[in-house]
Structure formats: C-alpha cells, structure tokens
C-alpha cells in the first residue's frame, strides 16, 4: 500500500490554507460560494443562499476590525445558535462559524479578500473597458441590453431615450449607458422603435455576463477567454454556457490568483526557486486542462449557435 506523505496531505486538504489544485469541486472558493456538504443532502443545497458573502453574512463591512467581527458574530450567534433557535439554527450557525473562522484569521481573511476582490475586479475591469451600464435609481428586476451583433446602428433608440442609450462610434452600434436613465415610457418607445428588435429586457443577474460577453476585444490575463475569440454570434446561449463554466472555473481561477498572491506576500527567497518551478508546472498543466475543456464546451456551443 502506498501512502506517501499521506497524513500531511490529509491535513492540507482539510485546511483552507493550502493550495488545492486537485479538482474544482474541492476548491475552497467553491465551498465558500456554496457551503454545502457535497456528499449529502441536496436539501441543504437548495436552502443555502448561493454565494453569500462572509461579510454580508456577519453584517460587517469589508474593512471591519476583528473586534467588530467578533461582536457581530456573537450577536448573530445569540439569535441563531441551536441552543436558542433550536435545530433549525444548525445550518446557519455552521455558516456563521465558517465565516467567523475565515475572517478572524489574518491569513485566511487575506486569501478570502483576494478571492472576492478578484471577483469584483473582474467585473469592474470590464466595466471600465466596456462602458458597462450604470444604474439610475434603485436596482430593478430587469435591465436593458443591446445585442450588438444584431444592431444596425440606426440610432433610433438614442433619439428616443438619450439618457439611457449611447452610440459606440467606433463599432457603429448602440449600447446601454445608464439603466433606466429615462422614464419607462421613453424606454418602451425606444425598444419598440428598433427595426431589428435587438434591444432586450434581461434579468439583472444576467446583465453583467451578457455585457461582458458582447465585447469584441479579447482580453489578456483571463485564461479561458484569452485565446483571441471574437464576439460570440449568439450572446445569449454563450452567456448560458458561460454561467455554467463560471461556476466551475471561478474556483480554479481564484486559486491561481491566490497562489500568486501568497507568493508575493509570504515567499522567502530561499523557497523561491522551488516554488517557481512547481508553479510553472502546475500552471502549465492546469492551463492546458482548462483550455481544452473550455474549447470543447464553449466552442461547441458557438458552432451550434451558428
């Protein structure tokens, strides 16, 4: 029987602190996003609010001090702990404990911050590059989205609702500048006025992905989509498959950035060489795996769409 370094491995897998390149499903980020026992009840999965942020869970701000986190944790425990709330509090308390553990330990918190920071940066970067639409007034359930593939650049929408739509002169197509920048009547008129019906009402949640995918430039440094593809022909089906992948891949992606992050912060020169070699290897292998997978899953969709 073989058992090299096994005990160590076990503790590593168990702890969040270690880099886990094993499988996507094991990644801590994945677990953070859905703290579900994977080997057991699906019921839990449904109950859990996906992707609930630890800071939101504890009701503290991102820059809060350990003291505030402790106080918030105690307050919530008094509300949800099974001793007080009964057995129903079990699941929630588990999440609280996990959140508390991560946020109270400096190293874990830093990693966690990087992982969610990365998610924010990921979208905010696109925001600036894309003219990602901003919101006027409160968030609503639906948002406007222009399928730029179909847009013929007729400027009708810009005429009718000039605070909402804008023209991208370089690409010759319309784009949403400010969600609900005009009143609803004007919006209706402008949607109706489009000769090719390329203005769509979409779910707010879908909007960032759609707006991200519609951009034609290829972006560097974002592994999967870095390979120079153009704008997908059918942005909606692409968004669908993108969402699926995002779920799986964010885990790995964040992991990668985490590794990098740790390298910068904690590396001693003595470890550098070994680390660089190992990382190179990891990244090569991972990149090729991801790439193959993405190509397979994603391209298939695109061909289908065509």
């Amino acid at each position: 029987m073989v058992l090299s370094g096994s005990a160590v491995t076990a503790s590593q897998i168990c702890g969040h602190s270690t880099v886990k390149n094993s499988i996507w499903s094991l990644s801590p980020t994945w677990r953070q996003r859905s703290p579900v026992i994977r080997c057991c009840n699906r019921k839990v999965r449904e109950e859990q609010k996906m992707g609930k942020n630890y800071y939101e869970l504890l009701g503290v701000s991102v820059d809060s001090q350990p003291r505030e986190i402790k106080e918030a944790y105690r307050k919530l425990q008094k509300k949800y702990h099974p001793d007080i709330a009964g057995q129903e509090g079990h699941e929630h308390t588990l999440m609280l404990n996990e959140a508390y553990k991560v946020l109270m330990r400096e190293d874990l918190r830093r990693k966690y911050d990087t992982s969610i920071g990365q998610m924010r940066a990921f979208f905010s970067r696109n925001t600036s590059n894309l003219g990602f639409s901003s919101w006027e007034g409160p968030f609503r359930q639906h948002a406007l989205f222009v399928d730029e593939n179909a847009c013929i650049g007729c400027r009708e929408c810009v005429h009718h609702a000039s605070n909402t739509f804008m023209m991208d002169e370089a690409l010759g197509c319309a784009r949403v500048k400010v969600q609900f920048g005009d009143d609803e009547q004007k919006l209706e008129v402008s949607v109706d006025s489009c000769p090719v019906n390329c203005i769509h009402w979409v779910d707010r949640e879908e909007l960032p992905v759609l707006e991200f995918l519609i951009q034609p430039q290829h972006k560097e440094g974002y592994g999967v989509f870095g390979g120079g593809w153009e704008r997908p022909k059918n942005v909606f089906s692409a968004a669908e498959s993108f969402n699926k992948q995002l779920k799986h891949q964010t885990a790995n992606e964040y992991q990668q950035t985490k590794t990098a992050h740790v390298t910068v912060e904690e590396e001693t020169p003595a470890q550098a060489e070994a680390r660089v070699n190992a990382r190179k290897k990891i990244e090569e292998e991972k990149f090729s795996r991801l790439w193959d997978w993405a190509k397979e899953a994603f391209m298939k969709d695109m061909w289908k769409a065509e």
């Binding site: 390149n21 026992i37 080997c39 702990h81 009964g86």
Partner: protein, 572 residues
C-alpha cells in the same frame, strides 16, 4: 413532546403528569457528577439554586452501597464512618470506570480500590463487583451510576414538586463519545433524558459569563471581551479550558483534559507510605480490604491537612501487625506527585497554545474542583501566569453544577425578564474525529477545538484497482495511529464503480450539532454529474457497543488492507 425511543424508565411514575407540564418548557436540571462528590442545581426562575439532600448537604458523595438486596447511593444513605465506604460493599469512582475497556490504564489503576475490578486485557468491559455479605456481586458502572441518578432524581422531584425529565450533565473533557453514550445509557436507565453533556470547564465558563454580564450591567460597562482560563481538577479528572467572554456569550477557544486527579495523588501517596502496598491492594482478602481502608482514610486526611499546614503526622495501625508512623512534609507530598503536577502544567500550556492566547491576554484565572485548594496546584497556575491571585467569585465545588443549571435553563428555552439568562455557550470539540486511512493512520476530519456546530469533509480514494468496497472506520482522539484512539464505529461503502486505484472520489463528511451528536456522511462523488451512482450513507456515531476494543482487533484481522482507503493526494 416526542418520546425518545431508548428511554428505559426504571421508575417512571410520572407519565400521567407528562402532558399537563408539556405546555411549559420543562427546565432541565444541572448535575455535576464528580468522581468523589456530586451536586445538583436548578434555575428557580430568578437564579441558580443548589439542592440539598435530607441531611442538608449540597455536596453528596458519589458512591453506591450494596447492602443486602437494596443498593443505596450517597444521596440518601448516611455513612457512620468513612471506612464504611471502603468495606468493599460500596462502588465509587464510577466516573473513572464508565465506558472504559479493560486495557485502559485508568481501569488498571482502579484495581487497588476496595471493591473488585478485574481485567482480562482484551479490550472488553472490566468485571466489577461489590462485596455483599462476603459474596462478590457483579455490577456495571452504568448500573451504579443509574442507581445514583435515580436517587438524585427522586430528591430533586420531592424538592421541586414536579417530575424531572431533562438534565444537563457535566462530563470530563477527555471523555470519548463512547463514554458519553454510556453516561446517556445510565441516564436512560434512571429515566432521565440528557439535554446536553457539557465538559465541566465549559459549565464553569458559562457561570463566569453570567457573572461578567451582571457586573457589566451594574457598571454600565462597554462589554469588552474578557479571556479566562478555567482549571478544573477533581478526584478523577483534570480539565482546562480557555474561554472568551463578552455580553453573556462564552466562546470556548480550546479544551484540554486528562484522567488525572485526586485519586492519583492519593494512590501515589499510599504507595509512598506503604512501599509494598501493591500486593495488599490487589488481592482483596477480607482483612486486607480493611487494612487498605484504614490506610486510604489516613492518607486522605493527611493530604487534606497538607493544604493548610506544611507537615502532618500520619499514625495508622493497619490491623495486620504493621503500623505506619511517619511525618510527611508538604515537599515530600509534592515530590511524590511531581508527575501529576507536571501533567497539569502541560495541560494548561497546551490549552493556551491551542487557543492562541498569550498569558497577558488572560483577564481571569479560575481554579475549581477539589484539587484546586492544593497549594502546589495554586502555585503552579500562578507561576505560569505570573500573577498574584486567582479569580475569587466562585465556589470551587459548586461552580460546575451551577453552570450546568444555567445551560439547562438556556437550552430549555427559558427566558428571564431581567436578562439573567441572556447567555450562550459556543462549544468546541474536545477531541478530533476522523477515520482510518493510509494504512493504520488516523486522519482527523474535524480537528480538536473546532467551534460547534461543525461540519467538515475530506476526499478519500481507493487503494486497489477496481476496488468496489471501502470500509469507513471512525475514530476519535489525538493519536496519529488508530490504535491510540477510540473506535466509534464502522460501516462499508459498497458498489463503488470499478476504476483504477486512486480515481474514485469518496467523500467523507462529518457533522456535529450543538447537542454534540455526530453524524457521518459518506458517498462516492461523480464529477460532472449531480446524481450519485450509489446512495450516500448517513450514520450516527458511535455505533459500537461494549467490547469495542475487540471490534477494532477483529476488523483488523478480518479485513486488513483489502477494503482500505487513502486520502486523496493533491491532484495537479
């Protein structure tokens, strides 16, 4: 109120009244069963009250006397003299025996007690018997404890004028889950339902949290966090906890415990006074039992006196022609027991280390339990913390029972208009739980000092090509090898899809809820498919019964490595 299936009511005359009282939450009583002494407390609506027995004692000796056909416990029966308990007819120290197998060193140490403890050293339950009319009559620690609990229950029911059903018991930190089931079993035999089993120092921590909260109310303080170390050493066990307290919430940061206590001090001292004590202790002839009893009482008195004076004269006639006449100094006593004191010290430092707390951060040091009045113990604690004084706001012998009563009230859902019950204990796991993998290694899944409720999982994989079955053997403890840990149970995952070794992903997940119930989930993961090929398994632990030491051996012999698992290596 759902009737738990396992209740074996021995004297359940209260069933008729059950329904009428169900409308109100029944306040659970708190019981601190010590190795030598026991106390019982209850929340009376405004504060915690210790109950007294008919002889007006708050502290009752934990023993059960087998006389003729009716056993009687230390709650009701009265001893004319200390020697009576040592005649062989009384079973005591059951807390050191319950749930232990006959290979356990603690059981072996108990062989020198006046009643009969026999071991076969094969990992089964030890044989225990009391001397009734010159006949050794067998019994079990569970039975002894149950008899004692029945007396306690009857006493409480008379005083509180209501049936008692729910209890919160305090237990040593080092108790394994198997031992906890034995305690629950004894409670069930006595018609009691266990609401919580709380480690003794955590009960003290809850009492401390309440005291802190009250002072805060009085001073209108800001409610800043206070860290306290609780050291609890009684006759049988030594437990340490570090707790962080604020606003009535006691958060246990770490726990440490060991089966050392006053009993060890006593036995070491007896051996010191009578070097050939071993043969005298082990044969259990009638005359020898008497001699032993005399020696034991004399030694006990001497140790007690040494807490207040620096030397003591021991003068005892053992009746078999040998006399002991000796002056024992405090230094001598301390030297004889150096190992015990060293162990206490290491428990404290370990606990501080696990809690990641520096000695300057500790606001209060609380020492409770019978041994806390030994000068050496006090000194060693003060020395570790470089302090002058220990915390003074607690009665060392009553604190655990009071804390248990508070927990009983909180967990029963009682609320107090004055906020005196606005309390909470956030417990931590005293021992790691995990499974056997990578050969004979113990792989913890939920490590020690994890905040409860807790849930963790780990992925394992197969050792052989086309291995279709895997044996999940669950252990609890701190050792790296499974033999050093307590077996909790085992089950088999069958129908693993055939694959080369190392490919199947077997996820083992453990879940501990607030009442410390452990469930183990296990199943084969299928990447990229949401539906499992074979059903997952959910197993409540522990599943083993008596003789679990044998089980472990048998498992070993029958299955060896054929159904083994290994932890998943980092896949790159």
């Amino acid at each position: 109120m759902a009737e738990p299936a396992y209740i074996v009511a021995s004297d359940n005359e209260t069933t008729g009244e059950e329904k009428s009282s169900a409308a109100f939450p029944e306040i659970a009583i708190g019981i601190d069963i010590g190795t030598s002494q026991c106390s019982i407390a209850v929340w009376n609506g405004s504060q915690v009250e210790l109950l007294k027995n008919t002889r007006n004692q708050k502290m009752m000796q934990s023993f059960v006397m087998f006389k003729d056909d009716t056993p009687s416990g230390g709650v009701s029966s009265h001893l004319s003299h200390e020697h009576e308990m040592l005649s062989g007819a009384a079973i005591f120290n059951m807390k050191r025996l319950i749930g232990r197998v006959d290979t356990d060193p603690v059981v072996h140490a108990s062989k020198s007690l006046p009643f009969l403890v026999q071991t076969l050293d094969i990992g089964v339950r030890p044989f225990i018997a009391a001397l009734v009319n010159n006949v050794w009559r067998s019994t079990t620690p569970e039975e002894v404890l149950a008899i004692f609990l029945v007396e306690l229950r009857a006493m409480a029911e008379v005083q509180l004028r209501r049936p008692i059903r729910n209890v919160v018991l305090t237990i040593p930190v080092s108790f394994s889950r198997f031992q906890l089931t034995r305690i629950e079993r004894a409670c069930a035999m006595a018609g009691l339902q266990v609401l919580r089993l709380m480690p003794e120092p955590t009960a003290v921590a809850l009492l401390y949290a309440q005291q802190q909260q009250q002072t805060e109310h009085e001073n209108m303080g800001s409610g800043s966090e206070k860290i306290a170390l609780i050291f609890n050493m009684g006759a049988g066990y030594c437990d340490v906890a570090v707790t962080a307290t604020a606003g009535g919430v006691s958060q246990i940061k770490s726990l440490a415990g060991s089966a050392i206590g006053g009993e060890d001090l006593l036995q070491n001292m007896m051996r010191h006074l009578l070097p050939n004590a071993e043969s005298l202790l082990s044969d259990h002839r009638i005359n020898e039992i008497k001699s032993m009893a005399l020696l034991r009482v004399a030694t006990q008195e001497a140790i007690h006196k040494l807490s207040f004076q620096t030397s003591v004269q021991v003068d005892v006639d053992l009746g078999n022609g040998s006399k002991i006449r000796k002056v024992v100094g405090r230094e001598e006593f301390e030297a004889v027991n150096q190992k015990v004191f060293d162990r206490c010290e290491s428990l404290i430092t370990q606990c501080l280390h696990d809690a990641k707390v520096e000695i300057e951060d500790v606001s209060d040091i609380i020492a409770v339990g019978g041994c806390s009045c030994i000068p050496k113990i006090k000194n060693l604690i003060l020395k570790i913390f470089k302090r002058e004084e220990l915390y003074k706001g607690m009665n060392p012998s009553e604190a655990a029972a009071c804390g248990a009563a508070l927990e009983g009230a909180v967990a029963s859902g009682v609320s107090d208009p004055f906020g005196n019950l606005d309390l909470l204990t956030i417990q931590a796991t005293p021992l790691a739980v995990g499974i056997r993998a990578d050969g004979n290694n113990f792989i913890p899944i939920i490590p020690r000092n994890t905040t409860m409720p807790a849930r963790r999982d780990l992925i394992f994989t197969t050792v052989h090509d086309n291995q279709t079955q895997a044996l999940i053997i669950v252990y609890e403890g701190e050792g790296n090898k499974v033999e050093e840990n307590h077996l909790l149970g085992y089950f088999k995952i069958t129908g693993i899809p055939p694959a080369p070794k190392g490919v199947p992903e077997i996820s083992v997940c453990m879940d501990i809820d607030a009442s410390n119930a452990l469930r183990v989930f296990a199943g084969v993961l299928q990447p990229r498919s949401s539906h499992p090929a074979i059903p997952f398994m959910e197993v409540r632990m522990p599943t083993v019964d008596d003789g679990h030491g044998w089980c472990a051996e048998a498992l070993h012999r029958a299955h060896g490595a054929s159904l083994d698992l290994v932890t998943v290596q980092k896949k790159i």
